[in-house]
């Protein structure tokens, strides 16, 4: 059992509108241990990116978050935090689009150096050295020269490495990764995933890795939380969840994901659209798209029930599902 680095309890994001509030993230609880990678999987609009932004207090205007956020302090004790106090040093973030997430008018090394200076009280010269060191650490070849490059002169993979180096400059306990490999080539994607895994193993950085790409999560993450319509529907160790899914949505996602050994088989899409936060269905929110939906699903209370050790599902019929997939 690793020590918990970050704990989130009952996180709710409220979107105010003239028609009344809606809750695109609706009661999310999670924890990440030191050196552990938690994957959050789900379709676009499921609220997974908003969850990350809420953890760092970076929600766009018009959205507010409630809930308890706790971060491990120096002695490992969890303590509630104000998001603006932990940005950088406590919790770092890597964004989806390295193209737009790097300031176009700031040299790569300057960004990393600035991030280091914001927390380390380093001299200008020392922070520049630190920047080159960090760039080298995250695998930027010829770091000395690349530090002087503008973002538009770097490839997508290098840009993402620069972003990671900047996020790591203040040695955060937790790194939030918002689909950091989606915009990259497959080979580059693989390198970045290896880098993230290495950072978790060697530096003990806890990570939340958000992606819609189940194979990537399967490859990288220790634990997984499947998110649908603002809520977690299934949580557990990655292998358990992906080999024995206990929620119809997880099962549907797995059927929709291409894998090498299923070549030639037809990919099964999930019929229908994910619901809009302003009109979540009552009861189980996956019910309208669920092939196994029954009448009582419309009144199902939301609760993640334990289905096995460290494995939970929000489906009230999870016991039947076990029979079907077994």
């Amino acid at each position: 059992m690793t020590t918990t680095a970050l704990r989130v309890h009952d996180l709710r994001v409220t979107a105010a509108s003239p028609d009344g509030p809606s809750y695109p993230v609706d009661g999310v609880s999670l924890h990440v241990g030191q050196g552990e990678i938690l994957g959050i999987a789900g379709e676009s609009g499921s609220g997974k990116s908003l969850t990350l932004k809420a953890i760092l207090g970076l929600l766009p205007p018009g959205l507010t978050a409630t809930g308890t956020l706790q971060l491990a302090s120096g002695d490992g004790e969890l303590a509630p935090y104000q998001s603006h106090q932990v940005r950088g040093a406590g919790v770092g973030m890597v964004f989806q689009e390295p193209m737009t997430a790097l300031n176009p008018t700031m040299r790569a090394g300057d960004l990393v150096a600035l991030a280091a200076r914001l927390h380390g009280r380093l001299s200008r010269r020392a922070s520049r050295h630190r920047a080159v060191e960090l760039l080298r650490q995250v695998g930027v070849p010829d770091a000395e020269r690349r530090a002087k490059a503008w973002p538009h002169q770097l490839s997508g993979g290098l840009r993402q490495r620069v972003m990671i180096a900047a996020a790591l400059a203040a040695q955060p306990r937790v790194l939030l990764c918002d689909e950091p490999t989606t915009a990259l080539d497959v080979t580059v994607q693989h390198q970045i995933l290896r880098l993230l895994r290495w950072l978790a193993d060697e530096h003990g950085t806890g990570m939340i890795f958000v992606s819609h790409d189940l194979p990537v999560i399967a490859q990288l993450c220790d634990r997984i939380a499947v998110m649908y319509a603002g809520r977690f529907v299934e949580t557990g160790y990655t292998r358990d969840v992906l080999t024995h899914p206990r929620h119809p949505y997880t099962a549907a996602l797995l059927r929709a994901a291409p894998s090498v050994d299923q070549r030639g088989e037809q990919l099964a899409g999930i019929s229908g659209q994910p619901p809009d936060a302003r009109a979540f269905p009552a009861g189980c929110r996956f019910r309208p798209r669920c092939p196994l939906a029954r009448d009582d699903c419309a009144h199902a209370p939301y609760e993640i029930q334990p289905v096995a050790a460290e494995h939970g599902s929000a489906c009230i019929h999870h016991a039947d599902l076990e029979v079907r997939t077994a």
């Binding site: 970076l58 914001l118 503008w150």
Partner: protein
């Protein structure tokens, strides 16, 4: 790096045909103006023989092409012809007035930026809140007040009671000139700032919504540091372009201000030359205005190239 210099070099080369075109237009100004320049010079009562002699002196009977070639040759050597009225070289008249207008425009720009940058940033950060509304109100007021009125009010309410600033005229020493330019510069700054504030507010809001500002926040940057390192330089290029456009439209405001504050600048000279039908002088002033516009746009391109490292791909 070299790409940006290449971009600036390309702009410089492109400016050459532009300048030639400007000289051609200014030259044609004299050609299409009705009336005989020679008759104007010698007066209505002079004999036809005198007129013919002057026409011969000025080369007015040569072909249009050779006249243009001669004019262009003169311009290149700094010879803009002679005034019909004062018989002075137009180049000397322009040279005497150019520094005054230069002081006015540059100090006006500085004042407008001093107003614009804090207010524009404030309005953007306070978007749809008090600071934004206050700035909007102040900007509207600035647009609503005509420059000559602002200038007169500054003379009446500031210069006369305090005696700190001259009521009119320009000085000879640097200190005198600085002192004389304060009120005109403030007036010009008030005229230029409102539109700049709107523009800066819009581009800062665009920047604040960008991924790289969110990334900057995520790294722990906030407040003034965030604005300075992640926003200002990205928001600046539209401001630079706007200031260039504004400067090129300054002629009218300059005439008004130079009259209000009794500054012997180009605007005043242009009006006098026009009133006196002193065509070579009008030509000279027009040429200087046009050259200034070309140079200001070129300068804006250079500044933008320095500010934005991506210019080399866009250029």
């Amino acid at each position: 790096m070299s790409g940006r210099f290449l971009f600036v070099g390309k702009r410089l080369i492109l400016a050459v045909p532009l300048l030639l075109g400007v000289v051609l237009l200014v030259f044609l100004l004299l050609q299409i103006t009705p009336g005989d320049p020679a008759r104007q010079i010698v007066g209505l009562r002079a004999s036809e023989a005198d007129v013919a002699q002057v026409r011969d002196q000025l080369g007015l009977d040569d072909s249009v092409f050779s006249q243009y070639a001669r004019y262009l040759g003169g311009v290149v050597q700094g010879d803009l012809g002679f005034s019909y009225k004062s018989r002075q070289p137009v180049a000397d008249m322009v040279a005497a007035r150019l520094p005054v207008s230069g002081w006015l425009v540059i100090s006006g720009l500085v004042v407008s930026l001093m107003i614009t940058i804090p207010l524009g940033v404030w309005a953007a950060i306070q978007r749809d809140r008090a600071g934004d509304h206050i700035t909007r109100g102040v900007s509207l007021l600035g647009i609503a007040m005509p420059s000559f009125w602002v200038g007169l009010m500054l003379i009446l309410l500031v210069a006369l009671p305090t005696g700190w600033f001259p009521v009119g005229g320009f000085g000879d020493t640097f200190g005198q000139r600085l002192n004389a330019i304060v009120l005109p510069a403030v007036t010009l700054g008030i005229a230029m700032a409102p539109i700049q504030i709107r523009s800066l507010r819009a581009s800062i809001i665009r920047c604040l919504g960008s991924d790289y500002v969110a990334a900057g926040r995520a790294l722990g940057a906030s407040g003034f540091l965030l604005v300075r390192r992640f926003v200002l330089r990205n928001a600046a290029s539209s401001m630079v372009t706007l200031a260039a456009v504004q400067t090129s439209f300054l002629l009218f405001t300059m005439v008004v201000l130079e009259t209000t504050f009794g500054l012997p600048g180009l605007g005043q000279g242009m009006v006098m030359a026009a009133v006196q039908r002193d065509l070579p002088a009008v030509q000279g002033y027009t040429l200087v205005f046009a050259l200034t516009v070309v140079l200001v746009y070129l300068l804006a391109d250079v500044v933008n190239a320095v500010l934005d490292p991506r210019v080399e791909i866009r250029g």
